[in-house]
């Protein structure tokens, strides 16, 4: 091997420091992403799965409404005896609880638990004591609401079933409180030892039987669950693992982890593109040097070896930087994710991850650097004299290299996603988007080429796009893709937020009052002390749509919702906070009094039910409101953000139509925990028919988890945004070199700096606008696909945000372009000419 001339490498690096910096940063960033996402995502996955497990308090849960069948119980016993699992039976039931000295009684939700419960998470008590030690036979642990409602305290006695129990403590938080917890009564914990004393489990009782299992070897969870499912009575006993259990949280977790991986992959792609673009520019700047070296006798081998050495040095620096950053970042994880990750989860970057990272880093550098380096070999000395670029020979090696890059990329995606099919689809979709971008760019440029304009500056700008040796097309493509990726990440994040996070805003109602009778409204407002939003509910069925009767048997076969059920109608003349029109401008149109002539009334329909029933504007729906038919014309269609915990109605009527129909009213309000107890007491004592559903606990847990996950996403999205910025900077730099020469010639010809600046700004503006437009288009297509097909969440276009992102892009590109040309504009042409005299 030829002796390396270190000075040569050093000079090359110093000469192109901007591109070198971009190159190193891109390598560092890809390493940082790999190392911290690799190591961290493992921790995050553990943590989130742990959250999921905590939400179930076990690995496997078996539900039933009846005592467990013998075959199933036998298997559980066998597993328990052989030490494969630990098990705990949990009975949940409603029961009336009496305070013995008065007649006060209260419906409560009993949870009778065996020792061992909860296997994951903790039942937090007000006294901070240990749950299992507190819950002895003869004692109960109750929710604060029980004390408030019965006006008793710790140490008092409660009669439950056939037994009397001493209140021992107050439960503050229960790990496996169901996500959809919607209960008419507060919680009371009782030890399973008292089950017989309670005497509440007998024929005619309604009990939820839950078998909680902790599997000692986590690898075996799915296997055991399958074995248990095989023994379970179909339709009666249900076996779930904390992973398979279907809940909103679970769906969010899946989407979240997928999105995290997606961000990781995209960051890698961007960083790879950055490496290639920086290197291409760097080598292009050195083309003449290389050509001269070849003229004076340097062999291709000499040059290639030196540039490879340079790339390796830079790659090593980038790798080292990335690893150091990774380690530093790791130190800050506990601060960054305070309250996000449980304290006992250690975030360590394992040596395996580091080695993996270094190998991957080198592979990325090698692969993306190969093609630019190879083009050096084809460079002929005659290049010095010719201005046009020599078309590179695209032999087998070229296409082979491209093939390997693609394969490597596909492999990386599949490896990260751990799912072959989704990975392949994703890669296909990405290539599809690149294809679309390229095609549109070429068409646009062709169109622009034929344009002529009077303004000289603008004309120069147009010409600039097509100057020889220019990289306009590849740069626009790279930039558009990079921007599209960033936009997409943002858009997907916004959509995930809109669906999951914003469903839990801080002002969300935390208590529901049901079954308020129309004549109780006034008194209710008095007790509440404020006027809440009342939701009247009128029950009805649909008889026909456009005179086509509802096929009830067929409807009941539907999996999700069906048209055969009873619907809740309501009346009001305004939209709710989270509603907007998807069709029509007023709830009841403009001419609804005209409908009166045909004995018809207007109705506003929610888009979800419109979809189920294939209902559109102007359709005729006949309702049967408890025996009375109502002919309703659809005058508007509403849509809503899918917040799960705000009330919504499929059918809204004008007040005068339904105000006399039989109805009950409910309301949803927000009160602080402190006020809630007293308020419930007051209402229940004055209007005992009103039921109170307190969902404050549920909301708190859900909101906490969802918010913390969304902040992790934001953090990692930052990585890819940095990568995208680096590409933008590198791309704009790449176009500058040719411009510098032009600026000089303009100056010699007597152009003012302001003219040159204008011409350059126009040129950058055209590039920026094409890129921003393309990125906007492509990112919406991409995000729509991800949201619709992978996450199955509704897609919002976020028009305002898109415009802002595009504007920022344009400003950024112009600003970077301007910043890099300012030195040229300031310097005297003669300086440049002296330096580049031979050209």
């Amino acid at each position: 091997m030829a002796k390396l001339h270190y000075n040569f490498i050093y000079r090359q690096i110093i000469n192109s420091r901007k591109q070198v910096a971009v190159f190193i940063l891109c390598v560092a960033l890809s390493l940082l992403t790999l190392v911290s996402l690799g190591g961290f995502s493992h921790s995050v996955r553990q943590s989130t799965l742990k959250d999921a497990r905590t939400l179930h308090a076990a690995d496997i849960i078996i539900h039933s409404h009846y005592p467990f069948s013998t075959p199933l119980a036998d298997v559980v016993n066998k597993y328990t005896e052989t030490g494969m699992v630990q098990s705990a039976l949990v009975h949940e039931l409603f029961s009336m609880v009496q305070e013995p000295s008065t007649t006060r009684s209260l419906l409560t939700n009993l949870k009778v638990v065996e020792k061992g419960y909860p296997f994951y998470g903790q039942v937090e008590l007000a006294s901070q004591r240990n749950f299992t030690e507190e819950l002895k036979s003869g004692a109960v642990i109750v929710e604060q609401a029980v004390l408030d409602r019965l006006q008793v305290g710790i140490g008092d006695t409660l009669n439950i079933g056939n037994g009397a129990f001493i209140i021992k403590d107050i439960v503050v938080r229960e790990p496996d409180r169901p996500v959809t917890f919607f209960s008419f009564g507060p919680r009371i914990f009782i030890s399973a030892e008292d089950l017989i004393a309670l005497a509440l489990i007998k024929k005619g009782s309604r009990i939820h039987y839950n078998y909680l299992l902790k599997v000692n070897d986590p690898e075996k969870i799915d296997k055991l669950a399958d074995a248990l499912s095989a023994k379970a009575l179909k339709g009666q006993e249900r076996v779930e693992t904390y992973r398979t259990s279907q809940s909103g949280i679970k769906r969010f977790l899946d989407n979240f982890l997928f999105f995290l991986n997606l961000i990781g992959i995209l960051t890698l792609v961007l960083a790879g593109a950055g490496i290639q673009s920086a290197l291409t520019t760097l080598l292009r700047q050195n083309e003449i040097t290389v050509a001269i070296m070849k003229t004076v006798g340097a062999t291709s081998r000499f040059i290639t070896v030196h540039f490879i050495a340079m790339v390796m040095v830079l790659g090593a620096i980038g790798t080292a930087l990335g690893l150091v950053c990774g380690f530093i970042l790791q130190l800050f994880f506990p601060i960054l994710f305070a309250g996000i990750l449980p304290a006992n989860i250690t975030i360590t970057i394992s040596w395996l991850t580091v080695v993996e990272g270094i190998i991957l880093g080198m592979m990325i550098v090698g692969l993306f650097a190969f093609l630019p380096l190879r083009s050096l070999r084809d460079l002929k000395p005659s290049f010095i004299f010719r201005k046009e670029s020599v078309p590179a020979k695209r032999g087998v090696l070229h296409y082979g290299a491209v093939g390997i890059i693609v394969l490597f990329f596909v492999g990386l995606v599949i490896w990260q996603l751990e799912d072959m099919l989704t990975g392949l689809y994703l890669v296909l979709a990405l290539f599809g988007l690149i294809g679309i971008t390229t095609a549109i760019t070429k068409i646009l440029l062709k169109f622009l080429r034929t344009r002529s304009t009077r303004s000289l500056a603008l004309r120069q700008a147009f010409k600039g796009l097509f100057r020889p040796k220019n990289l306009t097309v590849p740069i626009i493509i790279t930039l558009s893709i990079a921007l599209a990726v960033i936009f997409s990440i943002f858009l997907i994040e916004e959509n995930l937020n809109a669906t999951f996070v914003q469903s839990y805003p801080p002002d969300l109602p935390n208590v529901y009052f049901l079954d308020i009778q129309p004549d109780q409204k006034k008194e209710f407002v008095n007790i509440l002390g404020k006027k809440p939003q009342f939701y009247p509910v009128i029950r009805a069925r649909i008889t026909s749509i456009n005179n086509k009767p509802i096929n009830r048997a067929q409807e009941l076969q539907r999996k999700r919702d069906n048209l055969a059920r009873e619907f809740n109608l309501t009346y009001r003349d305004y939209l709710l906070e989270d509603e907007r029109f998807s069709n029509g401008k007023k709830l009841f149109g403009d001419h609804w009094k005209d409908l009166d002539m045909h004995d018809e009334v207007p109705v506003s329909v929610l888009d979800t039910v419109a979809e189920i029933g294939d209902i559109s504007m102007g359709d005729l729906i006949i309702f049967n409101v408890q025996g009375i038919p109502i002919k309703a014309r659809v005058t508007s269609i509403r849509t809503r953000s899918e917040s799960k915990v705000r009330p919504y109605f499929y059918f809204v009527f004008p007040e005068e139509i339904l105000q006399d129909a039989p109805q009950t009213i409910f309301t949803a309000v927000r009160f602080s925990a402190a006020e809630l107890g007293a308020l419930q007491n007051k209402i229940v004592s004055r209007m005992p028919n009103i039921s109170v559903i307190d969902i404050s606990q549920t909301i708190k847990i859900l909101a906490r988890i969802i918010h913390k996950l969304s902040s992790i996403i934001q953090f990692f999205a930052l990585f890819s945004i940095i990568a995208g910025l680096l590409i933008t900077i590198s791309s704009v730099f790449a176009t500058q070199f040719a411009r510098i020469q032009e600026a000089v010639y303009f100056k010699i010809l007597g152009a003012r700096a302001s003219f040159i600046l204008r011409a350059f700004t126009y040129e950058n503006l055209i590039v920026a606008m094409i890129c921003a437009g393309l990125a906007g288009l492509v990112s919406h297509i991409g995000s729509w696909i991800v949201c619709k097909w992978i996450f199955s969440i509704p897609y919002g276009f976020f028009v305002g945000e898109t415009i802002i992102m595009m504007s920022i892009t344009v400003v950024l590109i112009i600003a970077i372009g301007m910043a890099s040309s300012i030195t040229v504009l300031k310097s005297k042409p003669v300086v440049f000419l002296r330096e580049h005299g031979q050209e």
């Binding site: 009846y66 029961s95 009684s105 009666q236 055969a564 109805q663 028919n689």
Partner: protein
């Protein structure tokens, strides 16, 4: 064997048009009155097609037995006795001759005081009686897990009200159905179509009794 089958096929083939013509002739017949089945999800038939819930079954059976009454299903899932009382004017507007009143179970599941339930049912009956409606009260029991004190006091509401206001009582609406896994849906409280067949048998004699006394009442006038 084969001949037997063939014969059955032919016979049943003959039977169909005959049945149809009977049905056709019965429909235009003027109805002799209106029965409203007033209640909660047990009447509405939560999770069961409407034609397999007891009001539809009852109408069919009455017709077969020569009683041409229209039976309206006015069940509302989730309704409490307060809700039933609130909508009684709407029910009366449909001018029923007989009302089968089945309410209170949701109150029970929410642990609402039995005095309030009793008061609501009693007021509902009073309003119906003022309009000369014959009331059949469906006796109800509540899930045993609520505790003996409550369940006993709950079950006592119905016979007491029936006795006080002199109305027909179905001792237990869900007799033979409640607590039977095969006759209830997965949620253990809502009957299946099969369960409604049993409910129909349980209530039928009481409905006939109501028809008799409703007829007697109108002839007296």
């Amino acid at each position: 064997m084969a001949i037997c089958l063939l014969l059955m096929l032919v016979l049943s083939g003959c039977e169909k048009p005959a049945k149809k013509s009977v049905a056709e002739t019965t429909v235009p017949l003027e109805t002799q009155g209106t029965i409203i089945a007033l209640g909660n999800s047990l009447t509405a038939g939560y999770g069961v097609p409407e034609e397999k819930v007891y009001p539809a079954l009852l109408e069919k059976k009455l017709r077969r037995d020569g009683y041409h009454y229209r039976v309206i299903n006015a069940g509302i899932s989730g309704e409490t006795s307060s809700g039933t009382l609130s909508r009684i004017q709407w029910i009366l507007a449909q001018k029923p001759d007989i009302v089968i009143l089945e309410t209170g179970a949701n109150d029970g599941l929410r642990g609402i005081s039995t005095e309030l339930i009793k008061e609501n049912i009693s007021k509902t009956i009073q309003l119906l009686q003022e309009k000369d409606v014959e009331v059949v009260l469906a006796g109800m029991q509540i899930v045993q897990n609520l505790g003996a004190r409550y369940t006993e006091s709950f079950a006592a509401i119905y016979p007491a009200v029936a006795k006080d206001q002199k109305i027909i009582l179905i001792p237990f609406f869900l007799k033979g159905v409640a607590g039977e896994p095969d006759l209830n849906q997965a949620d253990t409280i809502h009957p299946t179509a099969q369960g409604y067949e049993i409910i129909l048998q349980t209530i039928y004699p009481h409905v006939l009794q109501a028809i008799e006394s409703s007829r007697k009442r109108s002839t007296e006038k």
